[in-house]
Symmetry: C2
Subunit: 138 residues, 2 copies
Amino acid sequence: MEPRISLITLGVSDLPRARSFYEQLGFTASSASTDDVAFFQAGGMALALWDRDALAADSGTTVHPPGAVTLAHNVRSPADVDAVVEEARAAGATIVRPGADTVWGGYSAAFHDPDGHAWEIAHNPGWPIAEDGSIQLP
Amino acid sequence: MEPRISLITLGVSDLPRARSFYEQLGFTASSASTDDVAFFQAGGMALALWDRDALAADSGTTVHPPGAVTLAHNVRSPADVDAVVEEARAAGATIVRPGADTVWGGYSAAFHDPDGHAWEIAHNPGWPIAEDGSIQLP
């Protein structure tokens, strides 16, 4: 696993309200945003806003309290997803969702670190990764 | 506020265990780390591990559930901290800690977004900010 974070997703209860808040603060929604999710370029990574319950289900948590988030690490191939999951398992992670194709056309897995922090490991063919590991939204 | 995130701090219950987990995954602890906190360079930003209760107190939350984190946005001066706090207040944030000098030699404030996600806005004179907004740990 390269030492970098690709995406931070905040679980929200009211997406239009949350999107408006971050837009007022100076973040610009990417064209990758939809009615269900908002993405903002944040330096070389992305900030996302998504329904709190959907995020909890996707992240293998039964509840998603206020202030809970999911971190994502994007890799360059589906095989790299599986490799990072095995590294995480060996380091003591709990694998909550093994690598599988996603509805958005990628391949991803999810694990929890020893304190319950949720990570998604993802290959997203629509979001190229630069040589330095940064990502750039549409 | 520039659209970027400087630091993600994960609240942990056992710092040596958490630090070991991330080191096994490929993150390298910065020399800025101490017995109380671990910092890892993660692309142009930093990942931190800190005692869950200390983070909750610093972030204005009464409890810090598993999976909760604090995001930080570093700025170039104490005056910029106060300016971002006023932007956040106008956008609907709850200010939980007004700008004040910190024990680590900086100046910071904290707010919660409309969903309760905690942000710290900080001027850390020991962590210079590059032209592109990235930070580089020692």
